[in-house]
C-alpha cells in the first residue's frame, strides 16, 4: 500500500525542474520532503496530486498506474502554506465542501464534519466565517477539510510555515496522531530540519529538483549519504572544509597541515570535503585548532551560535549558555575529527562519524 514515483521527470521548456525522482511513499508513516525553498518540494507534490503531468516516468498508487489520471478523478487532499478556505462559506460548510461535491448523504456529511471538527477543536467555531478566525483556526479548518475527505493521498505543503511559533509547536504535535488514524499516504513538505526530526517517520531530502536521500528521518540526520543531503539537513548551515590527504597528514586549502586523526586516519590519499555540524566543533582550544575571528553571535536562550570566519569560510559553533562574543574578536575553533563526515570531490559520503 504505497505511492511509488518511478523515474519522474518534469521539464519546463528547456529547464529540468524535477530530475529523475524515484521514491516510495508508504502508508502509515509520515513522509517528509525536506529541502530549501525552490528545491522542488511543491512541484513534486503537484505531480503526486496529479495537478501536473510528469514529462517522463510513472506514478503508481497501490500498484495501479495513475500517471495520466487528472486530479478530479483521484482521491487527494492538500493543505497549503497560505490558509485556503472558501471565504463565503462557514467553517462547517468549508469542511463539508469536498463531501458536498461527492454528494454524500446529509447525515454522513454531518457526522464526518463533527468528527473532524472535534479532532481539530473547531466545534465552537463551526458557524463562523473564515475571516472571523485567527490564522491557526483558519489552517485547522483547512486541515479538517483535508481530513474529512478520507483521501488516499494527503499532501501537507509547509502547513505550519505561516503560523506563529507557539501555534506551530502545538499543531505540529497534534498533526501526526490526527492523520495516523486516517490510513492515508501522508506527505509533509518542510524547509526546517528540526521540523522533520520532530515529525519523525521517513524523510526525503530534496535539492535542486532531485531527491538526494530517502530513509528514516533520524538515520538521514545521522548519516547523510551525500553533501547535498547533509546541507539540507543542517540548520545552522553545515560547516565545510576542503582538504587533501597525503600520507599521515591532511593539508587544508589554506596550506595548513594537520595530523590525520579520527575518521581521517584510515583514508587513502586524495582530495576530500569535510562536513560537520555546529555541535561537532568547540570554541576555544589548545592552539591546534583553526584560528579565526567572530563575525556574528546569535543567542537563542540556553545556547549561542557563534559564527567564526576561519579564512576559508564561515563556520557556526554551538556554545552552551549565553555568551557575548563581540564581532571581530579572535577565536579558535576545534573540530572533533571523530565526528566529521568525509565526502569525496563529487560530494558522496566516503566515511561517516565513527
Amino acid at each position: 500500500m504505497s505511492l511509488v514515483l518511478e523515474n519522474i521527470v518534469l521539464k519546463s521548456g528547456a529547464d529540468i525542474v524535477i530530475d529523475t525522482v524515484s521514491l516510495t511513499l508508504r502508508r502509515g508513516v509520515m513522509n517528509v520532503l525536506l529541502g530549501p525553498t525552490l528545491a522542488g518540494k511543491t512541484t513534486l507534490m503537484r505531480l503526486m496530486a496529479g495537478l501536473d503531468r510528469p514529462s517522463a516516468g510513472r506514478l503508481l498508487l497501490d500498484d495501479k498506474d495513475v500517471t495520466g489520471i487528472p486530479v478530479r478523478k483521484r482521491s487527494v487532499a492538500m493543505v497549503y502554506q497560505q490558509f485556503v478556505n472558501y471565504p463565503n462559506l462557514t467553517v462547517f460548510e468549508n469542511i463539508a465542501s469536498p463531501l458536498r461535491v461527492a454528494r454524500l448523504p446529509a447525515a454522513e456529511v454531518e457526522s464526518r464534519v463533527r468528527h473532524a471538527a472535534a479532532l481539530l477543536r473547531l466545534e465552537p467555531l463551526l458557524q463562523r466565517m473564515p475571516a472571523e478566525l485567527s490564522g491557526g483556526q483558519q489552517q485547522r479548518t483547512a486541515i479538517a477539510r483535508a481530513l474529512v475527505k478520507r483521501a488516499d493521498l494527503v499532501l501537507l505543503d509547509e502547513p505550519l510555515a505561516n503560523l506563529d511559533y507557539k501555534l506551530r509547536e502545538e499543531l505540529r504535535e497534534q498533526l501526526p496522531p490526527i492523520f495516523a488514524e486516517s490510513n492515508a499516504i501522508l506527505v509533509y513538505a518542510t524547509t526546517e530540519p528540526t521540523e522533520a526530526l520532530l515529525l519523525g517517520g521517513e524523510t526525503a531530502t530534496v535539492w535542486q529538483g532531485r531527491v538526494t536521500q530517502h530513509g528514516p528521518t533520524s538515520e538521514i540526520y545521522r548519516s547523510p549519504l551525500n553533501i547535498a543531503a547533509a546541507r539540507v539537513f543542517s540548520d545552522p548551515p553545515l560547516n565545510e572544509l576542503a582538504v587533501e590527504k597525503r600520507g599521515g597528514a591532511v593539508i587544508t586549502a589554506a596550506g595548513r597541515q594537520l595530523p590525520a586523526a579520527g575518521v581521517l586516519a584510515g583514508l587513502p590519499d586524495g582530495h576530500y570535503r569535510l562536513g560537520f555540524r555546529c555541535d561537532d566543533v568547540t570554541l576555544g582550544g589548545d592552539g591546534t585548532g583553526f584560528p579565526g575571528t567572530v563575525s556574528v553571535t546569535e543567542l537563542s536562550g540556553s545556547e549561542s551560535f557563534v559564527h567564526v570566519d576561519v579564512g576559508t569560510g564561515i563556520w557556526v559553533c554551538l556554545v552552551r549558555g549565553v555568551h557575548d562574543w563581540q564581532p571581530g574578536a579572535p577565536a579558535e575553533v576545534s573540530v572533533d575529527m571523530h565526528r566529521v563526515f568525509v565526502f569525496d570531490i563529487a560530494g558522496n559520503l566516503v566515511t561517516g562519524r565513527s
Binding site: 503537484r46 496530486a49 495537478l51 486530479v71 478530479r72 487527494v76 487532499a77 492538500m78 497549503y80 502554506q81 497560505q82 485556503v84 472558501y86 471565504p87 463565503n88 462559506l89 465542501s97 469536498p98 461535491v101 461527492a102 475571516a131 472571523e132 483547512a142 477539510r145
Partner: protein, 296 residues
C-alpha cells in the same frame, strides 16, 4: 497635566488651502443656496422667497415638480440599467482575459481604449454611428428590419445611450475585476481543483467573494458617473425625442440656461447634489464595513 505647545503659525500654512476651498467650493455653493432661497425680478433685484422653490420642486403636482420627478426616475432607471449590464459583462470579460504571457498587455490596452476617448467625441462618434443613412450601427439595424431611429423612437434613443455608456465604461469594470482576479492566490484554484469543484462553484465560492471589494468600488464609480450623465445624450439625442432621454443634468441645464428659471434650477441642483452625496455615503459605509470584516 502637560501643556501642549501651541503655535499659531500653523494657520498661516493652512491659509492658502482655505482660500482655495473658499473660492472653489464654498462661494459657488453659497451662491446656489442664495438663488434657491430668493426670487429675482431682473438683474440684482432679489427678494426673499423662503423654501417655496424646494416645496414646488418636491411636490409632483406642480409643473416643475412633475418634471423633476420624471427626470429623477429616468436617471435612476438609466443608472440601474447601465450597472446591470456593465458589471456582469465586465466580470465576464475579465474572466476570459489571459492570465499570463505576452497577450495580457495587448488585451488590457485594447480593453482600455474606449475609456481614453473624451465624452463629447464619444457622443459625436455615436451620433454618426447611429444614423440610419450613413451610420454603420443605425444602417445595420434598419437593414435587418428593426424599427431603429434615434431621433424619433424613444426606445431607440434610450437603448443607444445605454449602449454608448456600456461601450465607454465597461472597460473600467473589466480592469478593476481583472486586478481583483489576479490578486487571488493560485492555491485557491488548486484547492478547488483537488476538491473537484465545478467552474461555476469556483466562480461563486472563490472568485465572486474575493472580488467583493473591487466590485463595490466599481459600482460606486459607475453609479456616480451614470447618475450624472450629460454629454452623450446631449450630443446624440439632445434629451429627446420628447423628453425620453432628458436626465436630471440635462433638465437642470434646460431650466437654468434655457428658461433662466434660476430659483428652481438652484433648488434642483442642491437636491441633486444631496442625492449623490447620500448615495456615496451609503456606498462608503458599506465599503468600510467590508474592509473591517476582511481585516479580522
Amino acid at each position: 497635566m502637560m501643556d501642549k505647545p501651541t503655535n499659531n503659525r500653523a494657520w498661516f500654512f493652512v491659509l492658502p488651502v482655505l482660500v482655495l476651498v473658499l473660492f472653489s467650493s464654498i462661494v459657488p455653493v453659497m451662491t446656489v443656496v442664495n438663488y434657491s432661497l430668493q426670487d429675482s425680478m431682473g438683474v440684482n433685484n432679489f427678494f426673499w422667497n423662503g423654501d417655496s422653490w424646494f416645496r414646488d420642486l418636491l411636490n409632483p403636482d406642480t409643473e416643475i415638480g412633475a418634471r423633476f420627478a420624471d427626470a429623477l426616475l429616468r436617471t435612476i432607471a438609466f443608472s440601474f440599467t447601465a450597472l446591470a449590464v456593465e458589471v456582469p459583462l465586465g466580470i465576464a470579460i475579465a474572466l476570459c482575459l489571459p492570465r499570463r504571457g505576452w497577450s495580457v498587455g495587448i488585451s488590457l490596452v485594447i480593453m482600455a481604449l474606449p475609456m481614453l476617448i473624451p465624452w463629447n467625441v464619444v457622443g459625436t462618434m455615436w451620433q454618426i454611428f447611429a444614423r440610419q443613412d450613413i451610420g454603420l450601427f443605425g444602417a445595420a439595424l434598419t437593414g435587418i428590419g428593426l424599427p431603429y431611429n434615434v431621433t424619433q423612437g424613444s426606445v431607440s434613443a434610450w437603448v443607444t445611450i445605454v449602449v454608448i455608456d456600456v461601450w465607454h465604461w465597461t472597460p473600467l469594470v473589466i480592469l478593476l475585476s481583472y486586478a481583483g482576479l489576479r490578486a487571488i492566490p493560485d492555491a485557491f484554484y488548486q484547492a478547488a481543483r483537488i476538491d473537484g469543484a465545478s467552474r461555476w462553484a469556483v466562480f461563486v465560492n472563490i472568485e465572486l467573494p474575493k472580488l467583493q471589494k473591487v466590485l463595490v468600488i466599481a459600482v460606486l464609480l459607475r453609479f456616480m458617473q451614470t447618475f450624472m450623465i450629460y454629454t452623450e445624450p446631449v450630443v446624440v439625442t439632445g434629451g429627446g425625442p420628447g423628453s425620453a432621454t432628458t436626465f436630471l443634468s440635462i433638465d437642470l441645464v434646460k431650466i437654468a440656461i434655457g428658461q433662466v428659471d434660476v430659483g428652481s434650477a438652484a433648488a434642483m441642483s442642491l437636491v441633486y447634489y444631496i442625492i449623490i452625496l447620500t448615495a456615496c455615503w451609503i456606498f462608503f459605509t458599506v465599503m468600510t464595513q467590508i474592509d473591517r470584516r476582511g481585516d479580522r
